[in-house]
Symmetry: C3
Subunit: 490 residues, 3 copies
């Protein structure tokens, strides 16, 4: 009895009915033991052998990617400073609705520079703190959530900046400025959304490869949608949120794990992990107006984008709280809903954020998104998992998928109603279809041999991280009742 508590597996554990998997781990040390056994012998599993040791493949992959990136940067990337001919058209925007304006007066130029700088900083916080901490809700997966988030975004922004601007070379060079750094940050958001769908079930190696692939596909779709089809998607409901969510769900589908059908011991939150996640939620909520307005046309369009997002989120929050209470037994609030559905208004208002939909229009979009998202968490996510084999860890379908589509649809309606000049409802519909279509590329992400953890080690930092052992010592002491006696035995 004591042996298990102090972290050693019982010798007879493997002969029990559920011996195909290790007994649910009760401590970090035991989890490690369990993982070690499967990694070395591979016998107790009927699935393909797992090679979760990253010693060589992860460092080599990361260093090669970085080395190649640096070489390409040395060849292609320069500052967009005035001495590198910044006035000869290099300011053409990724957003088609944003005409280049080399003739702008001084104030407007500085205004734009300062606006970009502030917006860049806010978006940066959303990417690294917002997404990173939002995913720390899992009780034993906080290191990976915030740590791997940082890794993927740090690589992704380098890769995204290259691919987004490869279409706009000037004198064979990519000229970096703040606005392009914002767009590079944006490109990483797609990966971080997809990361949410497969959280806890993938290795850093797989995720780096997914980053490389997904950002490539994103840049192709974004170019097609924004530059070719001239679609208006200032807050990227379609090109980032819907695309990222369905790409992630496609990956989750091909990596489906029957062994997790009945849930997993660690696939849940703890009290403090939920509070850490709220740091992410609140930052995303607060800075979303910057996200949706960051690449909007300076002036009225930008102001509209800020105001619409502000009110959409406020209305969405009320709706999410109300719906959460309505669908839960005894009317209690559910942290999962609060952490996620309160943000759906920011996603859903993205496409028409800079359009003339008026504050109440934004609020109607927000309230709808809040209700849909909460209902999705309660009723749709379990069905996706059981019927379609899509195990969506963070429920990105409810936060980014459905609200992203809602945003696309709202954009079509707004375009049809003439809420923005030079934007056609047909183009908008094509943009949505294209974003959803390209997301299916996620289905090719079947790369199980790249360090994917076995089922019983899912949702557990200790398979890829050194984890402090203090908890076991604490348990040990409680059980033995005497610290020094325990030490003497060791």
């Amino acid at each position: 009895m004591i042996s298990l508590v102090i972290g050693l597996p019982k010798p007879s554990a493997n002969s029990k009915p559920h011996a195909t998997f290790c007994t649910p781990p009760t401590s970090h040390r035991q989890r490690e033991e369990c993982e070690g056994r499967t990694a070395e012998t591979g016998k107790v599993l009927s699935m393909p052998a797992y090679a979760t040791n990253m010693r060589l493949k992860f460092p080599i992959l990361a260093l090669i990617l970085e080395a190649v990136t640096i070489i390409v940067y040395a060849l292609l990337v320069v500052y967009d400073t005035s001495d590198s001919h910044r006035h000869d058209g290099s300011h053409a925007e990724t957003n088609a609705s944003h005409p280049s304006s080399p003739m702008t007066l001084y104030p407007s130029k500085y205004h734009k520079y300062m606006f970009c700088r502030c917006a860049y900083q806010d978006v940066h916080v959303m990417i690294f703190i917002g997404f990173g901490f939002l995913m720390t809700f899992l009780k034993r997966y906080g290191f990976s959530s915030v740590g791997i988030n940082l890794l993927l975004a740090a690589f992704g922004l380098q890769w995204g900046l290259l691919l987004q601007n490869i279409w706009h070379l000037h004198d064979g060079k990519i000229r970096v400025n703040i606005e392009r750094m914002i767009n590079a940050d944006f490109s990483t958001a797609t990966v971080l959304i997809s990361f949410g769908a497969v959280l806890g079930k993938t290795s850093p190696v797989q995720l780096l490869i997914m980053t490389l692939l997904e950002i490539t596909v994103f840049c192709i779709n974004e170019h097609l949608v924004v530059e070719v089809l001239k679609v208006s998607d200032v807050g990227a409901s379609m090109t980032i949120h819907a695309f990222g969510a369905y790409f992630g769900l496609a990956v989750a589908r091909v990596l489906y794990r029957p062994g997790l059908r009945n849930g997993h011991e660690n696939d849940g939150s703890s009290y403090h992990s939920d509070l850490f996640a709220m740091i992410g939620t609140v930052y995303l909520w607060m800075f979303w107006p910057s996200f949706n307005s960051a690449i909007a046309e300076p002036g009225d369009a930008q102001l509209r984008a800020v105001i619409n997002t502000y009110f959409s989120l406020a209305a969405c929050a009320l709706a999410a709280y109300a719906t959460s209470s309505l669908v839960e037994k005894k009317g209690k609030l559910d942290m999962v809903h609060i952490q996620n559905a309160t943000l759906a208004g920011g996603v859903a208002v993205g496409t028409c954020a800079d359009m003339d939909i008026q504050p109440f229009g934004a609020m109607v979009i927000g309230i709808t998104a809040g209700i849909i998202s909460t209902v999705g968490f309660k009723f749709l996510t379990p069905i996706l998992a059981s019927k379609l084999g899509i195990q969506d860890t963070c429920g990105v379908h409810n936060l980014h998928g459905m609200p992203g589509i809602l945003g696309g649809l709202a954009g079509i309606v707004a375009a049809a109603l003439g809420k923005k000049e030079k934007v056609s409802a047909t183009s908008q519909a094509c943009g949505l279809a294209s974003s959803l279509g390209f997301a299916l590329v996620g289905l090719i992400m079947k790369i199980p041999f790249l360090g994917q953890p076995p089922d019983q080690n899912c949702f557990d930092d200790s398979i890829f991280w050194e984890v402090p052992e203090e908890e076991e010592e604490h348990e040990e002491r409680l059980t033995h009742g005497d610290y020094s006696k325990n030490k003497a035995e060791a």
Copy 2:
């Protein structure tokens, strides 16, 4: 013995002497059980029956409030974009010291826009992260602190924007711009301060109604003080901090709970909850210069507001640390003081932040506030609770009440000394009196049947939130010594 540890109440618990209340809860599951019993039978309590089930009343209230808000917005609220005649005087400021300036030159206009945008973002962080996390210090009330904070502020900013601008319609419309969003955020601060006084003892339904009422009263007082009496209160020491604190204390008075006279098991912090609270403290501390300068006149006045607040807070921090050590046994620091009293300098310098009091003047105000606030926590809060029946959970009297009055008094002195043009000491005194007078409206907030929790469920998230059960399982495992055996029993 084991039964209690695994979270089931002992059958004989109700027959014990203190059976009027449940035995102090030891686990989330048990607390829920306890609450269920009282909610269903209502027998064991001599107080009015508690109806803490929010299933219908909370969602209905929230959705009705939001629906009404959206309808009013559809009728009244438009963007303050240039195409809606932004130059025809719609920039009249809430702050009387801030003349509308339709003739401003380009640079100044952009300067103001950018300043507002940065200040708005900083104030937003103070409202949602600052206030939200500051209140997470309670060991089992973090979900409510940061979650209900978000709910109240999200509703409050919509309501505040309406009421603050209903006095300044143009063509029958309220024109939203960034500055008005800052003021809307400000209006929610009053509610969040009052929330601190009643933290842990109220339901979301009560709090939503308090938000509606308090912001209404705040807007009336603010209009009277700033527009009619022409009082200078750029950092809102009087209209937000003193008003919000005494409004909250009035509510705490009418909701006095004799059953909590001797404290409550959960009315305290844990090590990590104190660290979460420090996130709130540090954000408030860092961004307070933006709060006090956000609606200051661009230029010198704004710069003074930033500098005065910066130095007041720095001096206040030293004073709070020194006083905390001085009043505690063995000279130790007390987290409650550090979390709160370090901020009192920001409150107290608010009224004269934009006045010409020089850095050392701000530092004198800051050091005074830090000492008063710390001494208040140590000696005054217990007296308020025992003698006056005011149970002030977060000690808002020490952080916002007394420092707010100090700020008002400093403003009177500064006005008398001519530190700001066109500001009279008499008006300032009237502004302080008015703010304190209107705060007494809090005394009518006696609405005990709206889901108010029974005494034993105070300071506990699990009465209104689904709370992760991992802790109990953990305890279970420790007690049973074997996870799978335990599962088999279940």
Copy 3:
């Protein structure tokens, strides 16, 4: 057996072999008991008597320092507002590469003001949240990390503003503006870096004195390097990072504790303390571009500083993850590396951040810093402790020391290659030598009688803070198995 678990020391504990020190503490209450005993009797220790009671000396020191500061401010410090002749040259910069420009046009002036304001806010966040939470990684030292960080920075910025500007009086006055507040924040960074080296082993009294001394030395070196030698060090790799690190290591050397040779029970992290630390890491990582560009020349130089830092950090992150996995057994990631080494790129690119090194040059610096830093944590820190007697709690040598020197060297190379006008390689080398030389002043910080904690109370908040007791009660309950029974016994 039970007695120890509930927090009381065993009576016979002192007779055991390791009785010279208390038995490793298992609970806050016990730790306090232990400390109390040593503080009162002093018998069980062979070292000098410890007087950790701060009741009088800490408040008196803090209040005297603050009072003196206020008096000096009253005599010397005024606002840099237009009415105090701001145009007469008072804008001379601390950074020598930054000529004063009283003739600048309106847009540029506002641009600079707004840029400074944004940069100031970002730097402020790095100082108070970044450094503060980065150090919360220790399992029982979070209060001190974030709390004493606030105390030292709050005092340091007042002191730093005085000493940095005492060289530039105008009409006998120091004129405060936003840029000088940024520089004041910078000066505190040196102290916070040094604090990391001695974290857990010093008292607030010692640290306040260290702040006073270190900022004084910093200001002398900064004046010499930047104003006299005309060294370019826009991101302060040499004057802040290398200086602060080696100053701290010098202090750690003179405060060497043989009793901690074999480690300490509390000198490690816990799962949640590591997550709190990641808040600090991510904020530092995100805002470092503002740190390195805050005092750069507006325009191209500023843009280069932002871009170089952005890419250096991105490349550094990849390198840190790769190297961490490479040097750890089984290829796992180590939180210590991720928390620190990912930031080394920001330090190392500091000196040449505003130079024309192109993005790929910044990435090469970043990747080098990430590798050096991680390798330093793994192999060098243990050697420093065992061979040189330098116990570097946070590993500041790896995050600030070596990357700071790397930054200095990169600056010499860049200067030699002509990457910035009017900057000579010789001057740069002198700047590095000067910064390292002045850091040796740290060796005089031998002040062991100012409340330094005894070895067994190191890394433990409870010696200087009131710490919540909930943990013990929890343990008690678990052990006794019955809450009310336990109460009855008490």
